[in-house]
């Protein structure tokens, strides 16, 4: 299973795929799943309490890779995604997933009907753990989360996340923001690492090492498909402190 430019991809109705594009910070990931609309749609955790079902390919330039599960695994995952998509379409409160960064408590968050049942503490998911948890929920874990270790550069990431959550438009209350900041243990699963795990997966969950290495290769693939245009310096400086975007949650 390899990633390709979404613009060139020809997904079949039975395909369930992962979509990777640039976010406000780093990359953003979600699912491409065939729906009753008769086409693939992009299902993703856009931001705090914002699960979105939109067009595929998404507006932002992206790459896409088909998940390597067998047909029953794919259909099982598709059904789970349909259940969530239905709730998103009905604007059900049961699918309001908070943005949260602590990996351990989130296991088992999703029930098969698509409802989100948060763990006891005020945690939540990122776009990356939204994907990994849904796969885990049908018995197809992509990652071996216990192998992930802290990286120094993610200290900046969590600060940026908390700034964005603090923006009133995010809808996050102070308690949740404080919990996110306090609960972060330095361990972050990056969207490109979830995508890489899907590429490497052959029946067993993938450790951090190979996922991190291949994740960087996928970022290079993304840059190849979606070249970054150089922006004027003034515009680059204005983007130093990102504002929360409703469409592309950092992960």
């Amino acid at each position: 299973m390899a990633f390709e430019c979404s613009a060139d991809a020809k997904l079949q109705p039975d395909d369930v795929a992962l979509v990777l594009h640039r976010g406000d910070i780093g990359r953003h990931i979600g699912f491409a799943v065939f729906t009753l609309k008769g086409t693939h749609q992009f299902l993703h955790l856009a931001w705090h309490k914002q699960v979105r079902l939109g067009d595929f390919p998404p507006e932002k330039c992206s790459i896409v890779g088909r998940l390597p599960f067998d047909r029953v695994g794919l259909m099982s995952l598709k059904k789970a995604l349909w259940n969530i998509g239905k709730k998103v379409s009905n604007k059900a409160a049961a699918i309001e997933i908070p943005y949260g960064v602590n990996i351990d408590p989130i296991k088992g968050s999703f029930k098969k009907d698509g409802a989100y049942h948060p763990p006891a503490v005020k945690d939540g998911l990122t776009c990356a753990t939204f994907v990994s948890e849904l796969c885990r929920g049908v018995g197809l874990p992509l990652l071996s989360e216990g192998s992930w270790t802290a990286r120094a550069e993610d200290a900046d990431w969590i600060e940026q996340i908390c700034v964005m959550l603090a923006d009133p438009r995010s809808g996050a209350d102070e308690g949740h923001i404080a919990h996110v900041r306090a609960s972060f243990d330095g361990i972050r699963i990056r969207p490109e690492e979830v995508a890489a795990a899907a590429v490497l997966w052959k029946g067993k969950p993938i450790d951090m090492g190979p996922a991190e290495t291949d994740g960087k290769a996928l970022v290079a693939k993304l840059d190849e498909c979606c070249p970054v245009e150089a922006k004027p310096v003034a515009e680059q400086q204005a983007e130093q402190v990102p504002e929360p975007s409703a469409e592309q949650a950092p992960a």
Binding site: D14, F69, D70, R71, V72, G73, M75, S76, K78, K79, A80, W82, G108, K111, K112, D113, G137, V138, G139, L140, P141, G203, K204
Partner: protein, 170 residues
């Protein structure tokens, strides 16, 4: 209180009809007809005070739960036990819906995957039932054994990639 005149072939319940000093008549009530006409208020928790009407309502409620378990179990098992059933999204979806509703309404302990015969099951559809109930595998009766049955059924069907089909379940 509504009474029916015939014993049901499915889940029947005794309905007590009587006054304050005892029940005067016991008849069998067809569950579906009873459920159709009894007001919602009849379906209450187990009675806290001894009273024939609330006791009977509780009996109805329990009987309906039994019927629900029976119907939902039949729904997923019917497909899993059909070796010729196509392994397609509608069938997988039906199995998922039945399994989820069963677990949500009656608890994972009411899902029984024990004593399946590999010679009788559709291996891939059994796998879909296993994936549907994956989160509750520790509480579903016979879940682990059903994985072994699925493997045998897939072998008997000459499935091309059994390990991939069962990935994450064993």
């Amino acid at each position: 209180m509504l009474l029916a005149q015939q014993q049901s072939d499915t889940v029947g319940i005794p309905v007590f009809h009587g006054g304050s000093n005892g029940f005067g008549l016991v008849e069998w009530c067809d569950l579906d007809r009873f459920a159709a006409v009894v007001p919602v208020g009849w379906f209450v928790s187990p009675p806290t005070t001894p009273s024939f009407s609330s006791g009977a309502a509780w009996a109805v409620q329990e009987a309906l739960k039994t019927k629900t378990v029976f119907a939902l179990t039949a729904s997923w098992k019917r497909l899993v036990l059909d070796r010729k059933a196509p392994v397609d999204f509608p069938h997988v979806s039906t199995i998922f819906d039945s399994v989820l509703r069963l677990i949500q309404t009656s608890g994972p302990g009411q899902m029984n995957m024990a004593n399946l015969d590999a010679a009788e099951v559709n291996g891939e559809l059994l796998v879909s039932a296993l994936r549907a109930s994956f989160r509750w595998r520790a509480e579903v009766i016979g879940w682990g054994d059903a994985v072994s049955v699925a493997r045998k059924a897939l072998e008997m069907a000459n499935h091309k990639d059994i390990d991939l089909c069962l990935a994450g379940l064993e």
